[in-house]
């Protein structure tokens, strides 16, 4: 075979291959063509393999021609392959079309009870102010619920909280306030102390939209040297602002609790109307949120803390009341019915 003959043969093969590639419409057909020309026994491969038998002088030119032909076919094949692949994908994806406006398949997620949410929030606010969480029993003795809290049997306040008594003995009752935990903490720990105690309390009251025989309080206690009423005001004002996430004004109004003196009721500027007066605050502009005061010296003496050396303050708030205000819930029974239509809103 002379050079001209070889060149013609290669050219013929290339043009046949290119036109076959051009006209093929499938990836399978394309692959067959690749094997037909470029495979191990492909037409071009066989020709290139035969180069060795060519005239020595002609061999480099022939090799060059052969490689150029191979590149042309490969390029054409690759271009067509990409084209067919993309076209195939486009067509396939079009067939895969779905209605993306239909709802997502949601894995069920549960909801945390609003009382847990507000309780966690309160705990974390006080934690940031250095308070630890303390706990105590719900079935208590009258010593912790009353006597140790400066409320002896003859004290009128003892009648005001209608208490549940139990079959465990005449002095065993269901605690009517979380203040019991103050005493237990002070008996078992030396000052300085900073605790809060969330928990369930019980009062013998008829069920209605505002009252349930059990509810929840968070009690707080701080005992140290030189603790003042000013610090009580500062701590609780900071708490209220953190809870409602607003720089609300608060005011402290004198009140009476047997175990604190002086005692106060904390009113916050109504967070819903910023003190202008609305339905929630009954037009007053103020909301009564919690009771507090300086720990009575009798309480400190009772647990063996010298009131001349240490002083402190205590406070207590109702979780339900705060949650009802915060989430605009108007019936306390919602908290205990556990209707999913209620729970799922939190």
């Amino acid at each position: 075979m002379d050079a001209k003959e070889f060149e013609n043969k290669i050219d013929g093969l290339v043009s046949a291959a290119l036109s076959a590639i051009e006209s093929t419409a499938s990836l399978d057909g394309l692959e067959n063509l690749r094997l037909q020309y470029l495979g191990r026994e492909g037409e071009l491969t066989v020709i290139l393999r035969g180069l060795a038998s060519l005239d020595k002088a002609f061999r480099p030119t022939a090799g060059q021609l052969g490689n150029q032909a191979k590149q042309k076919i490969e390029q054409s094949h690759e271009g067509k392959r990409k084209y067919l692949y993309e076209a195939g994908l486009t067509e396939r994806m079009a067939r895969e079309a779905i209605d993306v406006t239909a709802p997502g398949a949601r894995y069920p997620i549960g909801h945390v009870h609003p009382l847990s949410q507000i309780s966690s929030e309160i705990i974390s606010i006080f934690y940031s102010m250095g308070f630890s969480v303390a706990d105590g029993p719900e079935v208590e003795t009258d010593y912790y619920n009353f006597d140790a809290l400066n409320t002896p049997a003859s004290h009128p306040a003892r009648d005001e909280q209608d208490t549940f008594y139990t079959n465990m003995g005449p002095s065993v009752l269901l605690r009517s306030q979380t203040s019991t935990v103050q005493i237990r903490v002070m008996e078992n720990n030396k000052p300085p102390l900073r605790i809060i105690a969330p928990g369930r309390v019980y009062r013998n009251e008829e069920v209605n939209a505002r009252k349930y025989p059990l509810f929840h309080q968070v009690e707080g206690l701080l005992i140290d040297r030189d603790v003042t009423f000013g610090q009580l005001k500062g701590t609780l004002s900071a708490f209220i602002q953190a809870l409602f996430k607003k720089p609300l004004k608060v005011r402290f109004r004198p009140d009476f609790f047997p175990f604190t003196e002086p005692s106060a009721e904390l009113d916050s500027e109504c967070p819903f109307c910023n003190g202008k007066g609305c339905k929630t605050c009954g037009g007053r502009g103020w909301l009564e949120l919690l009771g507090c005061g300086m720990v009575d010296p009798n309480v400190l003496k009772g647990v063996g803390i010298d009131p001349e050396e240490f002083s402190g303050f205590a406070f207590g708030m109702g979780l339900e009341r705060l949650a009802m205000l915060k989430y605009d819930i108007n019936d306390i029974r919602n908290f205990y019915t556990n209707d999913l239509r209620f729970l799922e809103q939190f």
């Binding site: 069920p108 549960g110 004198p254 556990n338 999913l340």
Partner: protein
């Protein structure tokens, strides 16, 4: 208590103050005023005196005329439209200006005055008729109220509400303070108002001496205290004769009506009037109805005695109650401090009476009031303490008013002498106060001079200066002011809580990290689709499954439904499930964290439950975590819903254990056999107990019963299907699955997290299928997996259950296939080694469980 502003003004100068200002001051001074209500016409200014300068006809209406009315000399007159026929130029009339509120004379509703156009003519106010100002007894029947009809000359522009005798009063609803019995009266609150505003109290305007105090003709001459002196420190009686029963004087009935008291007759009304005025309860007996005409006695009732009280109910008396008895015949005429007897009550025919004013012990009155279920305005005051030193004053005041207003036509009533028993001497209380303590507790300095300034108006007398202050406490305050701290409180509130600067406490202590077990559990369970419930811990007394031996019960429950302290969270969750299903929910997934309560025999000391005991209640409270899953999981329009079964719920619990870092290899699951009685709500064949993988410790000696739902001290909880009987009886509409865990015990098993590296050797996976003959006994997965782990060697990383196959439930053969993953930390595990281990596993399974293998 309800406080009349008008009545208050009799005791303290309130000029220039509104009822709302007084209410605000009282509220910020420890006496919370819940609301202020108006008695009488609801009028608001500006309503002023005006003069009609000109009258012309309204261009568009026949019956309406236009006036030019001025309310100030030299000022531009106002155009005001008027429909009344009686107006003339030169008249002085009341003018309600824009912004004023008067009364609509047609229906009594509030009428707001606005400047507006009336039939096209501007009107800047309203000329008022008497009904529009709430005046019903005016001589002017029709038309505008003419203020100069009889030649009066009220000043132009002056305030009509001040000028006219319009009967208006404001009632302050004051929250009573349990420690301030002295302030349950107009007089007591007047002292507070005087002190808070720094105004003087007005002197009394009456004196008993201005009346004739004839000796009466009555033989009644004695009162005796037979009871212990602490029951009744002091009592006075006085006979009044020549009484005529009738309606009360208008001033008295108006005031009583304003504060919501029913009026009865002139005598009873006066006893109530003086009680509200001075805080001293009084009682009047009809002298003729007292069988012994000479004396009354104070004594304890005897068991079995009865009395019919004024409310016509027969009351059984006990020895705890104090009574007033007629000394001779021993007939009881009243329960001391609570209520008088029907038989000696004042009636229309009464013409002579015995007036009682006394001081009874608070605790005794409270007890009697509770035992009788009878609370009165009198008992409310006695319970909070009466000042013996003030009894005579109140007795005199009532006698004065009765004599003045209740005499018969012929003469005023004749007064007998004041008969008294006991002592009205109150030992003076002197309380020291250190200035340094004020500073230490309040954080601000208050000088001795300032202390005197604050306390003196309340009847305290203050002496000393600098550090050492001495305070004499008035007799009516000795019950609540006994200690230095009580004085500091008094000083603090009178000075104003708002005067104390807020600041933050110094940080002087380390904080303990809060326990996160509950938070993690809550996150894990909500993440798996369960919503959190909070359930009542008071449950019905007939709660199914409750152990009555271990029951903590309420003795005075609201109802049988709130009587037992719960022993499990499950019954409450079942109720919540049926509630939700009743309200249209098919899928109910709930969990709760809460306490359960048991009698604790192990720790019950002999003294538990004794009064005054501080240590033990004999009750153990455990924190449980429980869940209920009913219905389907993961629903979507394009997928089959995932049905809930035992394994899904067990998987949730396993996830929870993993989140809490509890090593699964320390735990074991067991069938429920032999424990069915403990867990009546569990399906006996589809429930498992979770225990620690170690033997139970024997119970302490002498312990008759366990104090936990979970009998053995290694039991952590259970998972299972709700017993079909429970599901049916509670109307649970699908298979429900439940779990309950002892969170306190789980907490103890939590371990700190520790990273153990990532193995880099290739994972080698082998399946093994064991065939068993189950003719006599089922082979359980746990038996198999334990043996596999035991023989699996150190490279066995994971055992997964692939399938449990049984051709039919009756089939005598079963096949269990497990997938074992072997992996070394950093190099491949040789096939030969794995084959050797598998050989060992097969051998162990054949030996211990009679397994056979298909190769």
């Amino acid at each position: 208590m309800k406080l009349s502003f008008d009545w208050l003004s009799e005791f303290v100068d309130l000029s220039g103050l509104t009822a709302h200002q007084v209410a605000e001051k009282l509220t910020m001074g420890a006496f919370e005023v819940e609301e202020v209500t108006l008695v009488g016409p609801d009028l608001t200014g500006p309503i002023v005196v005006g003069e009609i300068l000109e009258i012309t006809q309204h261009p568009n209406a026949d019956k309406i005329r236009l006036t030019k009315t001025r309310i100030k000399v030299g000022a531009e007159p106002l155009d005001i439209v008027c429909g009344a026929g009686n107006i003339e130029v030169g008249q002085l009339i009341p003018v309600a200006l824009a912004g004023a509120k008067v009364i609509n004379r047609h229906d009594g509703s509030p009428l707001l005055i606005k400047a507006s156009a009336i039939r096209g003519v501007q009107s800047n106010g309203m000329l008022c008729s008497p009904p529009e100002l709430g005046i019903t007894d005016s001589a002017t029947k029709d038309g505008i109220l003419i203020l100069n009809a009889n030649g009066e000359k009220p000043e132009l522009g002056s305030d009509i509400l001040q000028l006219l005798p319009i009967q208006r009063d404001f009632i302050l609803h004051v929250e009573p303070r349990s420690n301030r019995g002295d302030a349950l009266s107009v007089m007591g609150l007047a002292r507070e108002v005087a002190a808070l505003f720094g105004r003087p109290l007005k002197p009394a305007t009456w004196s008993l001496s201005e009346l004739k105090t004839d000796a009466t003709k009555s033989k009644f001459n004695n009162v005796v205290i037979e009871s212990a002196p602490e029951d009744c420190p002091f009592i006075t009686l006085r006979v009044l004769e020549g009484i005529k029963i009738g309606p009360s004087h208008p001033l008295i009935s108006t005031r009583l009506t304003a504060i919501g008291m029913r009026t009865v007759n002139n005598v009873v009304d006066i006893t109530n009037y003086v009680m509200h005025e001075l805080g001293q309860p009084l009682h009047a007996y009809d002298l003729k109805k007292i069988k012994n005409e000479a004396a009354l006695t104070v004594r304890r009732a005897k068991a079995g005695e009865t009395i019919t009280t004024i409310d016509a109910k027969e009351r059984k008396l006990t020895e705890e109650m104090l009574v007033i008895a007629d000394g001779d015949t021993d007939t009881i005429v009243g329960v001391a401090g609570v209520m008088g007897g029907k038989d000696s009550e004042i009636d229309d025919q009464s013409d002579a009476l015995v007036l009682e004013a006394a001081c009874f012990a608070p605790a005794v009155v409270r007890r009697a009031s509770r035992l009788l279920g009878l609370s009165s305005d009198a008992s409310l005051r006695f319970e909070r303490g009466i000042d013996p030193a003030s009894v005579r004053h109140a007795a005199n005041r009532a006698a004065y008013l009765i004599a003045k207003y209740c005499g018969n036509e012929a003469s005023t009533a004749s007064l007998g002498p004041l008969l008294a028993a006991g002592s009205d001497q109150v030992s003076a209380a002197k309380v020291p106060l250190r200035s340094s303590q004020i500073k230490r507790l309040l954080g601000i300095e208050i000088s001795a001079e300032r202390v005197a300034e604050l306390l003196t108006p309340l009847g305290f007398s203050v002496s000393g200066a600098g550090e050492q202050i001495e305070v004499m406490v008035p007799s009516f305050r000795i019950n609540d002011v006994k200690r230095e701290i009580d004085l500091i409180e008094e000083v603090c509130r009178l000075n104003g809580y708002d005067q104390i600067t807020a600041c933050m406490p110094a940080a002087t202590l380390a904080v303990a990290m809060p326990d996160d077990t509950l938070q993690l559990a809550r996150n894990c369970l909500t993440g798996q689709g369960l919503s959190e419930a909070w359930l009542s811990s008071l449950v019905p007394i007939d709660q199914e499954g409750a152990s009555m031996d271990l029951a903590v019960q309420v003795l005075n429950p609201l109802s049988k439904d709130h009587q037992l302290m719960r022993q499990s969270l499950i019954p409450g969750l079942i109720n919540a499930c049926s509630y939700n299903q009743d309200h249209g929910r098919k899928d109910v997934w709930l969990f709760e964290h809460g306490r359960v309560y048991f009698k604790d025999f192990e720790n019950a000391a002999d003294n538990h439950g004794k009064s005054g005991n501080k240590i033990t209640t004999g009750v153990k409270e455990n924190n449980h975590l429980a869940g209920l899953i009913c219905g389907q999981s993961f629903k979507a329009f394009n997928k089959e819903a995932l049905a809930v079964d035992f394994y899904l719920v067990k998987g949730m619990v396993e996830n929870l254990l993993s989140v809490l870092d509890i090593d699964e290899r320390k735990l074991a699951w067991h069938g429920l056999s032999n424990h069915e009685d403990l867990y009546p709500w569990l399906h006996p064949y589809r429930s498992a107990l979770l225990t620690l993988n170690r033997p139970a410790k024997p119970a302490n000696k002498g312990a008759g019963k366990s104090s936990s739902l979970f009998e053995s001290n290694i039991t952590l909880g259970y998972v299972g299907q709700l017993h079909p009987r429970f599901a049916d009886s509670k109307d649970v509409r699908d298979q429900a699955f439940i779990f309950e865990l002892d969170l306190d015990r789980l907490k103890k098993e939590r371990k700190a997290k520790k990273f153990t590296g990532i193995a880099t050797g290739p994972e080698m996976v082998r399946d093994i299928t064991a065939d068993f003959d189950v003719t006599d006994k089922e082979v359980l997965y746990e038996q198999l997996s334990k043996l596999i782990w035991k023989a699996g060697g150190s490279n066995l990383q994971m055992v997964e259950l692939v399938s449990i196959y049984k051709a039919s439930p009756e089939s005598k053969r079963s096949a269990i296939t497990c997938r074992l993953t072997f992996q070394h930390a950093n190099e491949p595990v040789a096939n030969e080694e794995i084959d050797k281990v598998l050989g060992g596993i097969r051998e162990s399974l054949s030996r211990d469980l009679a397994a056979s293998f298909r190769l």
